[in-house]
Symmetry: C2
Subunit: 390 residues, 2 copies
């Protein structure tokens, strides 16, 4: 009698694929050794200088530069050991039906190696001391093997939620995202394993704040406006980004991002749209270059005399709702001005207006003006008049 | 033709109830004024001195003390105005099908009142300046009217997730929590409106960390061990606490809490079990006095010579996994020793061992030792041998 299986058939297949690719890649290394060659890995460089903003595809991508990690190079031996150690831990986890996190990969590998040096003295060396070391090695493996961590069933905490008129298959279940009651569907850490079955929606609205998501969901926004409603609950994690990208790319749904009107909100938009600078190799799969910044924009608050746009807030509401920008906000805004993808007329206008007014606004202020205002006036008007920033 | 309804029938009913109770309570105030009496409200005191630890029920509760909030008392007039303002905003939201959050209640009420003083000079006064003022007034209304904010359809962000062999009704939908695929069900902010339909489970396991929840879920822990698996994703919010309490109280399921082995983890357990000190009036509905601290305990790490308990970690694993306690951890542990409900032999032993070893451990370290170890050895053994702390 076989043991009952408690994991999904989807995972069994994903696991097999990843294990085979990982094994094949590292067998090349073994092959080199067997042929008497120096063991070395050729790994794409994850440096800023090798990070390129592709204007055409509007993505941050890894450039063509690579480096050699050689076992017989004194400066590289430790990193080489760490890379092979990490690869073996991931491989073991794959074949043993485990689901590690990056935190427990760190714990799994953490130990002290005792060895004798060339003078015969016993020495000790830790495999790694901090998680940032093991994380860096994991990233090397991702670019070396060409598999993202999710492909290797490495899990992580996950904040993203979704509701909407859409059916998906996740694991061995079919889930109707329109039948979540007052709750929502918490997106899995491996969204590439989700199968989209059918969808009845015209656009995707991503809300930065979970509480505003709850309000819009509860008031039936997604039903009324045929939307897929998503929250990233702050800075988006990888799974939420990938899920949003797939909705855009595979289902052709436009994606609108709604954040607070401040540099932190702009950065959240930027991560959805372009990707994070430190992890550019992931952008190709996680970023949504077509994502639009719906608001809240500075011209929504103050209007725009140049275009004749009227503000959504009255003078009195501005007085009550606006928050004075902090020094860190100003600093952050000036940093964002240097990013390639913020160098467009609309963004320059936005940032300039922010620096001039030194004011920011939370989405909750619009809900404070009235949930019906947010839901039935502000969002639909912004979409219909194409009053967004790209 | 009526407008299509986009909100649930459950909310329509809840809304009506809350509006009626709120109205009735404040009509008493109107009645007083009509009868020529001084307008005043008698509100239960939410002070520490009026917070009582009920040893019998093992709950933090509000004591019998009340105070009068009089309109004609100079020191009270501002607070009186704030209370009536907040009540009217909540009432308006209820009858207008709104779903405010505490943040937008703050925005809704925030404005400047202009008036003439007794010398005829124009003066200005803000209704409130910061959210902590409007939050305090909301709490007064909760204890005054005897309705929690959730009863008044005030929403909030929500981190809790659940999976397990259980069917619930939320809003107008029936949701099968065993059919969530690799994802999970995100608990609604108003868990009292959830109806439990049927359950096939023997206990509830609450995991502090979302990533560990993902691992256990994915490996099929809840299927194999007939559990309802929940994560609070850190410090539990109100909805997660209420949901857990209802599973315990209404379905009779034992509740086990699994956190990191450190004072922060103990505090999370404490909030689930007893309630938070500042919000004792909520404890009666949110706390789970029967909840058990499953681990990770200090004796799990170091063993216990007194009882002959063997540690779950080897000497080498301790060396690799243990994190040195910080000064803030030590300080926190000493504070917890003063809490009434930590003054039990088992907790005193736990805290003493922590202060002696000055060591803490993350759950991830146990997953690092092996997910199978965590899932098939550690958790089941702890439950079967009743090796938990109450």
């Amino acid at each position: 009698m076989g043991e009952l299986r408690f994991t999904s058939s989807v995972d069994v297949k994903a696991r097999k694929n990843a294990a085979e690719r990982l094994r094949a890649k590292f067998l090349e290394l073994v092959q080199k050794i067997l042929e008497g060659e120096e063991p070395s890995m050729e790994i794409p460089k994850r440096t800023l200088s090798n990070t390129i903003y592709d204007r055409e595809r509007k993505l941050l991508l890894l450039g063509p530069e690579k480096f050699e990690r050689n076992f017989l190079d004194m400066r590289e031996a430790r990193k080489f050991m760490q890379t092979v150690l990490m690869a073996s831990i991931i491989y073991e986890a794959l074949v043993n039906d485990e689901y590690p996190t990056i935190r427990d990969l760190y714990y799994r590998g953490k130990h002290t190696i005792k060895y004798r040096d060339h003078r015969g003295r016993t020495e000790e060396e830790n495999t790694w001391d901090e998680q940032k070391e093991s994380d860096a090695v994991l990233r090397d493996i991702e670019v070396f093997v060409g598999l993202l961590r999710e492909d290797m069933l490495i899990l992580s905490k996950e904040k993203g939620k979704v509701v909407g008129d859409m059916r998906i298959r996740s694991g061995d279940d079919v889930i109707d995202l329109s039948k979540m009651g007052h709750g929502a569907y918490a997106i899995e850490p491996t969204p590439d394993l989700i199968e989209f079955l059918d969808v009845n929606a015209e656009f995707v609205l991503v809300v930065e704040k979970d509480a505003v998501f709850q309000q819009l969901h509860r008031a039936g926004f997604w039903k009324k406006y045929k939307a897929i409603l998503i929250t990233s609950a702050g800075q988006p994690d990888r799974a939420t980004r990938r899920f949003v990208r797939r909705l855009n790319e595979e289902l052709g749904l436009p994606v609108y991002i709604l954040t607070d009107a401040d540099p932190y909100g702009w950065y959240i938009y930027s991560v959805f749209r372009i990707g994070s600078i430190t992890l550019s190799y992931e952008s190709e799969r996680l970023a949504t270059p077509n994502a639009k910044f719906l608001g809240v924009s500075m011209t929504d608050i103050f209007g725009d005399p140049k275009t004749g746009k009227k503000p959504y807030l009255t003078e009195a509401e501005r007085k009550n709702f606006i928050i004075k920008a902090k020094k860190t906000d100003i600093k952050r805004a000036k940093e964002l001005m240097n990013y390639e993808w913020f160098k467009t007329p609309k963004w320059e206008r936005e940032i300039k207006l922010f620096l001039e007014k030194q004011s920011k606004l939370e989405i909750e202020a619009l809900a404070g003006k009235g949930l019906r205002f947010l839901m039935d006036v502000y969002i639909p008007t912004k979409i219909q008049t194409q009053d967004f920033i790209e």
